[in-house]
Amino acid sequence: MRAVKVLERLLATIPIMLGVAIVVFLFMRLTPGDPVDIMMGEAGYVSEGEIENLRREFNLDKPLHVQLYLFLAGVIRGDLGNSYTKHAPVSELIAERLPATLELALGALIFGLVVAMPIGIVSAVKQYSVVDRVSMAGAFLGISMPAFWLGIILMLLFSVRLQWLPVAGRIDYDASLQAVTGLHVLDSILTGNKAALISSLRHLALPSVSLGAAMAATVARILRSSMLEVLRQDYVTLARAKGLVEFLVVTKHALRNALIPTVTVVGLQVGVLLGGNMIVETVFGWPGLGRLVVQAIFSRDFPLVQGAVMVYAFTFVMANLIVDVLYTYLNPKITL
């Protein structure tokens, strides 16, 4: 039954994605400036024939609604067009860089959750204690800090001054790593390459922390506030009165319900991770999708920007779908 509902929700995302594609397409086409002029920008004198060829190649000579149809048809096939500057299919370029971005996003997510969950729970259980006050002060700082600045500060402290961690990149040049999934940490574990594992973890550390800090702060705060609310409930008092061990009261009864609003927030924070991704990748020279998009923006490579924005939006929608499914596991009253 649930599987059917999940499938239904999955199908419901299609109109959303269609809408996203249309919005992205419209923005690209409606911006001032002829795309061909932009492409030809630096090339100096170009013959009429070449311009016409380019127009035809990118379907720019057809009416707008035909262009939209061709674009959408391509998207469904997985064809996101060709990059203006790199002369390769956009989907290829994105797929190439996606594992790096995925690894960073996962690193940040794991860091964020690993930090936020214990802090949120302990702060709530021991309200007004030193741990609570310090954690909440730290969390408050975390939500007020721009990620790019945190990244730079961490870089200054750990890479430049203390020289404990590397400055940029994903892995040391001389670490020969077999690519299985594209995620260096996972690959080093799978191939038993200890040196590569250490190297990739050292490179992943600072970017993950920079990206995940704001998320950790937000999640810790919301978890604490939900836990506080839940711990006041009658059923918690009953569980304690029954003689249940405090640990079980907190985890089995309170946490499960406190996670409900928290999980929703995590879903939204995934969006923040996807966006902040671009910034952190730029700061740390991380060779991922985010940095590619920023470069594409400056080289006015619209198909690439367009394709990447759609990939990000799609990931966000999927993440929130997963959150909704998780939600039904946590709160049996809600059905999909």
Partner: protein
């Protein structure tokens, strides 16, 4: 002395009453805020930043855009090679960092206020109308809002700046085009809830027209929620602007913006750490103060928004 019951006075009376109530409520609010030290601190710092921004031409020691290359990369005054003439040091073009930071406050504050103000106005107006009248308008706008929510905020802003090009107005456009959604949802929900109350029914019975009901009766009651939400959103708007400027997509040189200053400083991080660090610190302190003030405001006005 009695007030004369001229037609003008009679017409103005409800507004006068409203104004008095507003004044009294504001004073109460300030008194409540005064009881919370963190909110007070936040509010004070915000006022300081605003003053700094407004008085920038008078208090800034140097011209923020003119630099002397012979005075480049001077450390802050408290460092060994520092120079008290340049309190926060100079950047790679010899421009005084303190002056640039002072002027940078203008951009950040201006963007924050305008972005939030415009988003809140549009969002609240749309939300109130949608929530009150429902029907096809509501469905249309809600679906559009859902569609916009499929984009993560920064992705949307970066994408828009990519297509529109950099600059202050485009930046505002990018921020408000997505920013109105939260206000829309809040206003819509609140109006839908208020619609069922007795005072609205009473107003209808008396014969007040719908727009007047929305404007005069319902909106003042949801105003505080919008105010709180606006204050809480301002911090993230400012951070988003700084991030866009950092990437080079926001405010363009030579206008000093904190985000782009941090970006400039990146290449000099090893030798001249102050160029990147201090502007970022300014962002942190400003956003921190706004958040402190906003949270204090929320605790007093609308604790419902606590678990958002």
């Amino acid at each position: 002395m009695e007030a004369q019951t001229t037609p003008l006075n009679r017409a103005l009376y409800p507004f006068k009453l409203r104004l008095q109530l507003w004044g009294r409520n504001s004073l109460n609010l300030l008194r409540e805020l005064g009881k919370q030290p963190s909110a007070l601190l936040g509010g004070l710092l915000v006022v300081l930043f605003v003053l700094m921004a407004v008085l920038a031409p008078f208090i800034s020691p140097h011209d923020p855009t003119k630099g002397n290359l012979r005075e480049q990369l001077i450390p802050p005054a408290w460092e060994k090679e520092g120079n008290p003439k340049f309190l926060f040091g100079t950047d790679m073009q010899g421009r005084d960092l303190l002056s640039r930071i002072i002027y940078g406050a203008r951009i950040s504050l201006w963007v924050g206020i305008l972005a939030v103000g415009i988003s809140a106005s549009i969002g609240t107006a749309l939300g109130a109308v949608s929530g009150y009248y429902r029907g096809w308008l509501d469905t249309l706008v809600s679906r559009f809002a859902d569609l916009l929510m499929a984009f993560p905020f920064l992705i949307f802003a970066i994408g828009m700046m990519a297509f529109l090009g950099p600059g202050f107005t485009n930046l505002l456009l990018a921020l408000t085009l997505k920013g109105w959604v939260v206000f829309f949802r809040l206003a819509r929900g609140a109006v839908m809830a208020e619609k069922t109350t007795e005072y609205v029914e009473a107003a209808k019975v008396v014969g007040q027209s719908n727009p007047v009901i929305i404007g005069s009766e319902i909106l003042p009651n949801i105003f505080h929620s919008i105010l709180v939400l606006g204050t809480l959103r301002m911090g993230s708007m400012i951070i988003t602007e700084a991030s866009l400027s950092f990437l080079g997509l926001g405010i363009q040189p030579p206008t000093p913006a904190w985000g782009s200053m941090v970006a400039d400083g990146r290449d000099y991080l090893v030798t001249s750490w102050w160029i990147a660090t201090l502007p970022g610190l300014a962002i942190l302190v400003l956003v921190l103060s706004i958040n402190l003030f906003g949270e204090g405001l929320r605790d007093i006005l609308d604790p419902r928004l606590k678990v958002e």
